[in-house]
């Protein structure tokens, strides 16, 4: 017993089990922290997955622009060296790459999506892509016919299959297969994984690189998207065109001894007599817009995988040859919409302060019982469905609505000149003030009910007038309530969608209505995401301010 006492005095304090008390306490604290985190973790993960991840996804979408390089991968690479300011059209190689990309995109029906996307930047591209997608398989028709006339083997599915596999036991080129898998997966956003019963041969893909590439893409698409068998389907025109290009480029078919070698030699001799395929002329024949430098410029400007284009668009600017520039006057709407959203939110906030302050003052100065009774009048609108309140305002404000009818009945307004109170800014402001008023009254009330009445009484007894006592003593103490309520109302107002949509008409709509329009009607998701990101940034700054001023855990409901 005396030993322990001595160690305790000289050494560190020990807990019951002999460990130093400090460590034991630290361990207990850590255990407590871990327990708290373990309780929070499920919800935190839930919110992160169901809520924060979608928001992050939206932010990503506002800069993402992979559709151009996914749909036209070779064109984008070939176009890199083109100088848009030279005033000349891109080189024939670019048109050849475009043929290769366009053919596959048209087979996968992805060219219209890209057309729609680029149409946001340059009007007319959508129809250009659409018409080209229809006619792209006619390009090089004469050459393909000549090839097929030479030897019927070029129309035979089984011959093509053996040719491209390189025969039994040939060394496979899995790298090419995987490369084409990725290309198709990027293009269609579907998975192209799975066994397709075809691997290009190593030797043949070195001999005929373009053909092997095109045939592998064809094989993957046939098996996975169309669910057919490769060996039983005749290859696309694009494969045959690629073969002609390979042969024309001087592939050394004479030195090849795999299956189909003889047909290849014969084909090369025949092809040598034909003129080269003029892709540029062919595209211009499909649609003369392929000769417009503007269109090529757009494709080049929007070819990087990430773009600031959506954000520029969201602030009424666009990408020009020399960096960002303002859009033409008649296309500028977003700055105006943001200003209107801001202005109307401020007006709504102001009218909520004007109407909420007297009510909060009255409630906090009445006897508790009466105040609770009157509080029901504030809480009932708060608890009533938003749609109910909005439809109520529609009923009230319409031209044939309750207010107009009452005014006409009283003879204040002539029946022929009923007031227009809906489908404009007035309607939105009135309805939203009504809807958000409880959010102003409740924080004000909770602050005002903590102000001791003795201060005002003291001021009065020291000789202050009613007004001075209120303005110099009471009002400063109620400012935190005004601040809390204002930020809350402003945050809620700035992102409102339903009420402006129903009572706002065209002049009373907010930026959120435009976002909804871009998601569901114009399908310009990138622009919707960019507008949303700007709005979100504004709200988060206010949220941060609210947290600093009021503290987010001090929010009270009801």
């Amino acid at each position: 017993m005396s030993d322990t006492t001595e160690t305790t005095e000289s050494g560190p304090v020990l807990s019951a089990d002999g460990t130093p008390l400090k460590r034991s306490l630290r361990r207990a604290l850590r255990a407590q922290k871990m327990r708290a985190l373990a309780l929070i973790a499920p919800l935190l993960i839930f919110v992160l997955v169901t809520f924060i991840a979608p928001i992050a996804d939206m932010l990503f979408r506002s800069v993402e622009n992979q559709i151009v390089s996914n749909t036209l991968p070779r064109t984008v690479v070939a176009l890199q060296d083109w100088d848009a300011d030279s005033g000349e059209l891109p080189s024939p190689e670019v048109y050849e790459a475009l043929y290769d990309d366009m053919f596959l995109a048209a087979e996968a029906k992805e060219h219209t999506r890209l057309g729609t996307r680029l149409n946001y930047e340059q009007t007319g591209i959508s129809s250009l892509f659409r018409s080209t997608g229809r006619g792209v398989d006619d390009i090089g028709e004469d050459h393909v016919d000549a090839l097929e006339d030479l030897d019927e083997a070029w129309e035979d599915e089984a011959f093509w299959y053996t040719l491209m596999t390189g025969g039994e036991g040939a060394e496979p080129n899995t790298a090419l297969l995987e490369e084409q898998r990725r290309r198709l997966a990027d293009l269609t956003s579907d998975s192209f994984a799975g066994e397709i019963g075809f691997v290009p041969g190593q030797a043949i893909s070195e001999l005929l690189p373009q053909t092997a590439r095109a045939y592998t893409a064809f094989a993957l698409f046939t098996v996975i998207a169309d669910e057919d068998v490769v060996a039983e389907e005749e290859p696309w025109e694009a494969v045959k065109v690629a073969l002609i290009q390979d042969l024309k480029a001087g592939a050394d078919v004479a030195g090849y001894d795999g299956p189909g070698a003889a047909e290849l030699v014969a084909a090369q001799q025949m092809v040598a007599d034909l003129p080269p395929i003029d892709f540029k002329a062919a595209f211009l024949a499909e649609d003369e817009d392929w000769g417009a430098i503007e269109n090529w410029k757009t494709i080049q400007v929007y070819s990087p995988e990430f773009t600031s284009g959506y954000f520029l668009n969201a602030v009424d600017m666009q990408k020009g040859p020399d960096g960002p520039e303002a859009r033409p006057e008649n296309q500028q709407i977003y700055i105006m919409l943001f200003q209107r959203t801001l202005f109307m939110s401020l007006v709504i906030m102001g009218s909520c302060i004007l109407l909420g302050y007297p009510i909060a003052y009255l409630l906090s100065n009445l006897p508790v019982r009466t105040a609770n009774l009157l509080m029901i009048l504030v809480l009932l609108p708060f608890w009533t469905s938003l749609l109910v309140r909005t439809s109520a305002w529609k009923v009230m404000l319409q031209q044939q609505g309750v207010i107009n009818d009452t005014l006409v009945w009283l003879g204040i307004v002539d029946d022929a000149s009923r007031l227009v109170m809906i489908n404009n800014q007035f309607g939105t402001i009135v309805a939203m003030t009504h809807i958000l008023l409880p959010f102003m009254i409740l924080p004000m009330y909770s602050v005002m009910s903590t102000i001791p009445p003795s201060y005002v009484r003291a001021a009065r007894s020291l000789g202050a007038t009613n007004w001075t006592a209120f303005w110099r003593v009471y009002f400063p103490q109620s400012v935190p309530g005004i601040g809390a309520g204002s930020i809350l109302v402003f945050i809620l107002a700035i992102g409102y969608y339903i009420t402006p949509e129903i009572v706002g008409g065209t002049t009373g709509t907010f930026i959120s209505n435009r976002i909804a329009y871009h998601i569901s009607s114009s399908l310009n998701w990138g622009l919707a995401a960019a507008l949303g990101s700007i709005l979100l940034a504004a709200v988060l700054i206010l949220y941060w301010a609210y947290d600093k001023i009021v503290g987010i855990d001090n929010v009270k409901l009801g």
Partner: protein, 387 residues
């Protein structure tokens, strides 16, 4: 200071109020000027009569009440009679309230007449604001019984003619497949979403309210954010993200989205309840040998239950009332009641919406009462004075 006031003060004031009432009645009859003069003269004369000649309050007020009612009935039929009775009661009360000086009863004796005037002016302004708050909701109710397909009062309704009223919009709501489907969707989505947010939210709120929580503020900010981020942004993000996961247009997609939106309300109400929670109670239970699970269900849960339930009600109403997110995340198969109302308001205007609105207001009144009772019970349990 409650003392009778001279009739020279009461009669002009009552006359002014009477002029205003006369203006209303007069304009409705097409003779505004006559209405003003007649109203002022009549009410001022009444004030003089009751205060100077026949000062028997009870009988005088009855006579005013019934007399105005009969006069109203003679001018404007049944509705006129009702309005007349209201005016009669009002003026009978007003004359004696002023004449006996009762209006000063609750004011300090030293207040000057001007201060008294401001005091009542303030009250009147507050009354108008309350009127603004409550009228839209009240107006919807009688309109939902409209026999016509109008969004406004018909002459029959104003005459209180039974033919002007009908239950047909309610019948439409209960027999129309669209509305019924929407109602069942709402009923099947909201409770599941509520259950999710309440169970996760309560656990997290208990974790958050313990003394040592690392990163408390950022965690709180993340958990509250679904309430702060504008719904259209949440909806857009969820639409994009849930499409990638294949949840877009499915029942579970909507439930998860609604659960996320309801969580802040559960967190806020439950942490507020836990602020007053006495931790020595759980320690005492543990001391007596109860394991943490028993302690939670037998000691802590009953005490914080009111907060949990009102948080759950908030979460329920959030899901039940939500339209923006379901509009984007859901497909036609998840069409909820608010969604149906929204399309109804935007496209085909049908007064069935008003019937639905009335039903929803009734439900909100019930919920509001429940929450209020729970709040009082919670404060009683925690030893606070019932507010």
């Amino acid at each position: 200071m409650i003392q009778p006031k001279p009739v020279s003060f009461v009669a002009p004031v009552v006359g002014a109020a009477g002029a205003f009432a006369g203006l209303l009645v007069g304009t409705a009859q097409g003779v505004p000027l006559l209405g003003v003069v007649a109203g002022a003269a009549l009410t001022a004369a009444l004030a003089f009569l009751w205060l100077e000649v026949f000062r028997k309050e009870r009988i005088a007020r009855w006579i005013t009440f019934l007399g105005f009612g009969v006069a109203g009935f003679a001018i404007g039929g049944l509705m006129g009679g009702v309005i007349g009775l209201a005016f009669g009661w009002l003026f009978g009360w007003f004359i004696f309230w002023l004449g006996e000086g009762r209006y000063r009863a609750k004011l300090p004796p030293y207040t000057t007449p001007l201060q008294v005037f401001y005091h009542f002016l303030f009250r009147v302004i507050c009354g108008l604001i309350f009127f603004f708050l409550i009228t839209p909701i009240v107006v919807v109710m009688p309109l939902s019984f409209n026999a016509e397909d109008f969004f406004t009062f018909t002459p029959e309704m104003l005459r209180l003619d039974p033919a002007g009223y009908s239950l047909k919009h309610y019948r439409d709501f209960f027999t129309n497949d669209d509305w019924q489907q929407a109602m069942w969707n709402s009923i099947s989505i909201a409770p599941v979403a509520t259950l999710l947010s309440v169970s996760f939210g309560t656990l997290a709120a208990i974790g958050l309210s313990s003394e040592h929580v690392p990163f408390r503020r950022p965690i709180m900010a993340i958990l509250i954010s679904p309430m702060i981020v504008p719904l259209i942004i949440s909806a857009a993000g969820m639409y994009f993200f849930y499409s990638r996961l294949g949840l877009q247009g499915t029942y579970w997609g909507v439930v998860l989205a609604h659960a996320a939106l309801g969580i802040p309300f559960v967190i806020i109400t439950v942490t507020a309840t836990l602020v007053g929670f006495d931790r020595s109670l759980t320690r005492a239970a543990a001391n007596m040998g109860a394991n943490p699970v028993t302690t939670f269900f037998r000691v802590q849960m009953p005490l914080i239950l009111p907060g949990v339930i009102s948080g759950g009600l908030f979460a329920f109403i959030t899901s039940f009332d939500e339209v923006v997110v379901v509009l984007f995340v859901g497909s036609a198969g998840q069409k909820t009641l608010p969604w149906q109302m929204f399309t109804g308001l935007r496209e085909q205007i049908s007064p069935t919406i008003l019937a639905v609105a009335t039903i929803l207001v009734t439900i909100s009144i019930l919920l509001l009462t429940t929450v209020e009772l729970l709040r009082r019970r919670s404060e009683r349990l925690r030893g606070m004075s019932p507010g």
